[in-house]
Amino acid sequence: MSANEILDMLMGIVQTSGVANFQFNLIIMWIIGLLFMYLAIAKNFEPLLLLPIGFGIFIVNFPLVPLMGFTEEGHAQLLQFFYRYGLEWEIIPCVIFLGLGAMTDFGPLIANPKTLIIGAGAQLGVFVTFTGTILAGFTLKEAASVGIIGGADGPTTIYLTQHLAPQLLGANALAAYSYMAMVPLIQPPIMRLFTSQKERLIKMKQMRAVSRQEKIIFPLVTVAIIALLVPSVVPLMGMFMLGNLMKESGVVARLTDTAQNALMNIVTIFLGISVGATMHADAFLNPKPLFIFALGLVDFAVCTVGGILTVKIMNLFLKEKINPLIGSAGVSAVPMSARVSELEGIKYDKKNHLLMHAMSPNLAGVIGSSAAAGMFIAMFN
């Protein structure tokens, strides 16, 4: 072997390494990825999602890594495969909703169905943020995908964003899950600002018992109405209600167990790492994600206000008043925002437990945010 051949070989090894193809903007993405992993591990901020998302961001931002591209034969590489068949085809958000449905008890909502209106009112921020996002120069589809962040529903955000503005998937998902984790920080000041001392002390009657038959009929009635009115979100809501029907029927315990546990865990891993993998420095480092983060906060805040105001308006017509502190639970970060209502309630009256009452608008918010997403999809169809 000649010296030239050896040198050539060595150059080849160096040039196919990440070091020779390094770009400094990748360091920023490493920091972002590490930050989210830190928030997940050290602060316990939505770790199930922020950990794989953070890792996905970290690992794709190395030069020449064969993860999000295509092979010479045209086959998708590993993370591109998860992204294409999981997210592009909108499979993963629907399967996650299957698992969520299998974990959800709709009893509080069935017992108090008027809280569905709170779930609708809490979508105010979605539409307000849509307007603000357009002012900032985003397209209408991008604005819709950013607006839905306030629905505080990860799968719905991912579903709608992939549908309307897939280029914003990473930023939107990250904003949605980050702010969901920060609900205990964002909501309480707003709740205090928009409620009076007298309103915070409203005690609500104990909810009626809900029969097994009602819990079985609920997913069927819900999916039928959603399918008739907002068919574009039936993939999401249909799977949600299937999971719930499986749970409530009690006759498919193995399937329910799989949906709640193994299946949910598997798709969560694929979801997290695929979403993170979309955030390469070349696509992510522009003012848009920063603005999305800022707007996401406004979105959550206005949705909280919307829920509280909806309760106050309902109380003008109701004999049995609703405690407006549960209005903020219309922001469907389940069960975090319901817990925030509980904690705020007992601050003012230790015997005023609002958790189960707050679960009702919390669950209504899931349906409300899906309805809002359906409205946006219909806008562009």
């Binding site: 038959q213 819900t222 603005f291």
Partner: protein, 156 residues
């Protein structure tokens, strides 16, 4: 402390405002267009082209552009921009008047945005209201059935 928070908020918001949309070309008019009226919000003109020819002209003009929707209405074809171009819509009438086709280009999309948002927000309420009614009815029916069965069981 307040100044720090304000400065941080400005640093967050400023890049977004500086971002803005890219400059997009305005909608071209047909070669034989005769302008009827023009203001900040709307440009109305007529053309000797038939509806189908005018539609073909705009399809060719917008070929390759993203986020443009063609809606076939009863009396007109509505071309809508779903991005952030300086125009919002082009309405091509299907009915010819004096052998001319009327075309209206709307610049303003804020009235459309506000209107559609309010309608859709109300739409969310309507969906959930209908679901509420559905649940109430199904709850009533089921509780009657359950109570009847319980009464029968108690009678036995």
């Amino acid at each position: 402390m307040k100044r720090t928070i304000f400065t941080l908020l400005m640093l967050i918001f400023l890049p977004g405002f500086l971002y803005g949309g890219a400059d997009m070309p305005k909608v071209p008019l047909t070669d034989d267009s005769q302008i009827i009226s023009e203001n900040e919000e709307k440009l109305e003109f007529t053309t000797g082209l038939s509806h189908d020819d005018a539609l073909a002209f705009y399809k060719e003009t917008f070929k390759g552009l993203k986020d443009i929707n063609f809606r076939d209405w009863k009396s007109a074809t509505y071309i809508e921009d779903d991005s952030n171009r300086p125009w919002h819509s082009v309405l091509i009438s299907k009915k010819m008047e004096d052998q001319k086709t009327r075309i209206v280009i709307s610049q303003d999309n804020w009235s459309w945005i506000t209107g559609t948002l309010i309608l859709r927000f109300i739409g969310v309420f309507m969906v959930l209201l209908i679901l509420y009614v559905g649940l109430k009815i199904s709850g009533l029916v089921i509780s009657r059935v359950v109570n009847r069965n319980a009464a029968k069981a108690a009678a036995k």
